[in-house]
């Protein structure tokens, strides 16, 4: 029996000439060799040669940035770029990928508990990192699908197994119906202590479409968190900035200023008086600014916001804020006044933002000279316990340390 001439595609390597063998047949059949053919729109994949191309960038600093950030995806030419890790200056970003962990529990749990134990943290509220940018994806259905996938994954693989890790789950803010469904589907899961609006989302918090979502969160006695973030590409104001420091310094505060203003000017604290809100990762300096600005305008234009029965700052003083990134360069007086203005002793909650570049240790609070010991403990843990109705869990490391201290104490 004759053997058929065959090609086994499971082992055959890719070759352009093989892929285009039929084109070559056409060329032969049509006798293209008899005349000239010019293609005026041909492409190649220069990204495969990006490592060579970067060497031709004339600005040496940009050349280094391009080498570090790469191209495509979140590379140097993309909307957000990859500037957060300061172009290689922060070593933990690339190195943690190679950090060894045991097969169980989930790697995320192991790594999270390692840094929490080092910082002295008992309970951590976990947020995503790249997925904070989901709201900038032009396809809203992609944001919704990934948000649901991430939340379900987090609940099943992390929150269900580790009581020291909790989360306020991501809401796909551009789809109000999907937000409501998220609260319905995940609001009662283990470890879920609230829901998060990532602030650059392009919707007003006062949109009627959100009211049933806010009500559902309030009914469950959960918290609503507004998490600062930035956009660069696609935002007409941010696109006026050419350096990441500008985009970050403005973006992380601006979007929370925007939502807080709408929240107040539409009387949301009066509509949902039991809904606890927390404003996260915008630092603190914006709060006194906005309090003064809104109070001043409200005295003259209260007719526009008849739902507000008190000054905007009165409502703001009842909301919660996270500490990081706390502005603390040469401003002790301003910081002390800020703490006073926002009722920090009862409303401020410590946050590290680890492993991000501007993370703050608990010592940034504990070492403040103008706080009492009680105030420090409130800010480091007590206020969050109240905000999130937390059942406190003390870290294994601290339990051990306390036992050792007690054992060493003279009888």
């Amino acid at each position: 029996m004759d053997t058929l001439n065959y090609r086994d595609l499971s082992v055959e390597e890719f070759d352009t000439k093989t892929l285009l063998a039929h084109a070559a047949q056409q060329a032969k059949q049509r006798r293209y060799e008899d005349f000239l053919i010019v293609d005026v729109d041909a492409h190649h994949y220069e990204s495969d040669s990006f490592a060579e191309i970067v060497e031709y960038i004339e600005d040496p600093v940009m050349r280094q940035q391009a080498k570090y950030q790469g191209f495509g995806g979140t590379g140097i030419a993309s909307g957000p770029g990859s500037y957060q890790n300061l172009n290689g200056r922060l070593t933990r970003y690339p190195k943690v990928r190679g950090e060894k962990t045991p097969p169980t529990p989930h790697r995320d749990i192991t790594l999270t508990k390692r840094w929490m134990d080092s910082l002295g943290i008992d309970v951590g509220c976990m947020f995503p990192t790249p997925m904070l940018q989901l709201g900038t994806c032009p396809r809203i259905e992609v944001e919704v699908a990934l948000a649901r996938a991430y939340n379900r994954w987090l609940c099943e693989n992390v929150l269900a197994h580790e009581p020291r890790i909790r989360s306020t789950l991501y809401l796909p803010f551009r789809d109000p119906e999907a937000c409501y469904q998220m609260v319905q589907d995940f609001g009662d899961r283990k470890g879920v202590i609230g829901f998060t609006v990532v602030s650059p989302g392009k919707k007003g918090v006062h949109d009627n479409a959100f009211m049933k979502t806010w009500a559902a969160i309030e009914e469950r006695n959960l918290a609503l968190v507004f998490h600062g973030a930035y956009t660069w590409g696609g935002d007409q104001h941010a696109e006026l900035c050419n350096r990441f420091i500008a985009v970050h310094a403005l973006g992380f505060t601006w979007f929370n200023i925007l939502h807080m203003t709408n929240w107040l000017c539409n009387g949301m604290p009066e509509r949902f008086p039991k809904l606890r809100t927390c404003w996260i990762e915008s630092g603190l300096a914006w709060i006194p600014f906005l309090m003064q600005r809104l109070d001043n305008e409200w005295m003259m234009r209260s007719s526009e916001v008849p739902l507000l029965k008190r000054k905007p700052s009165d409502y703001m003083r009842e909301m919660y804020y996270s500490t990081q990134p706390m502005e603390m360069v040469d401003n002790k007086e301003a910081l002390e006044l800020t703490f006073k203005m926002i009722n920090a002793e009862t409303q401020l909650c410590y946050s590290s933002d680890y492993p991000h570049w501007d993370m703050d240790l608990p010592s940034t609070i504990y070492d403040l000279p103008f706080l009492t010991e009680a105030a420090k403990r409130n800010i480091l843990g007590g206020n969050a316990k109240r905000l999130f109705n937390l059942e406190p869990v003390v870290s294994e490391a601290k339990v051990k340390q306390l036992a050792e201290r007690n054992a060493a104490r003279p009888a």
């Binding site: 600093v61 280094q64 200056r89 922060l90 070593t91 993370m359 703050d360 940034t364």
Partner: protein, 121 residues
């Protein structure tokens, strides 16, 4: 004050760092361009292990005539120690913070003698 042995000359590779414990103090000994520098491994900002990060040249904006921005460049004569926690930067030569001269790393004298490297602690 005592001379504490760090290593034999050449044991720290070019660009490398050896962190030594001298009593309660951690000291980072950095070898850069064949020269040794020793600083307390403690960032005055939030206490990060400042010597365990990378060294990078300072960055300059190159401004042309009429205030026109031309490009950025690295200042290879001014190498910075970069704290791996928050990227606070310090001049390698003297340990002074690049943004605020009042902030500085604790510097230790390095002594090279008899084919070995010591720091004066």
């Amino acid at each position: 004050m005592a001379d504490v042995l760090v290593c034999k000359d050449g044991e720290i590779a070019e660009g490398g760092v050896r962190v030594i414990q001298a009593g309660e103090v951690e000291i980072g000994v950095i070898r850069h361009d064949g020269k040794y520098y020793a600083y307390r491994n403690h960032c005055p900002h939030q206490g990060g292990p400042v010597c365990e990060g990378i060294r990078m040249p300072g960055v300059l904006d190159i401004i042309g005539e009429g205030g026109i921005f031309l490009q950025q460049d690295f200042d290879q004569k001014d190498i910075h120690i970069v704290c791996p926690w928050h990227s606070y930067e310090f001049h390698l030569e003297d340990g002074v913070n690049v943004c605020d001269k009042r902030i500085r790393l604790q510097k230790f004298k390095v002594v090279e003698k008899d084919g070995a490297v010591y720091i004066n602690v």
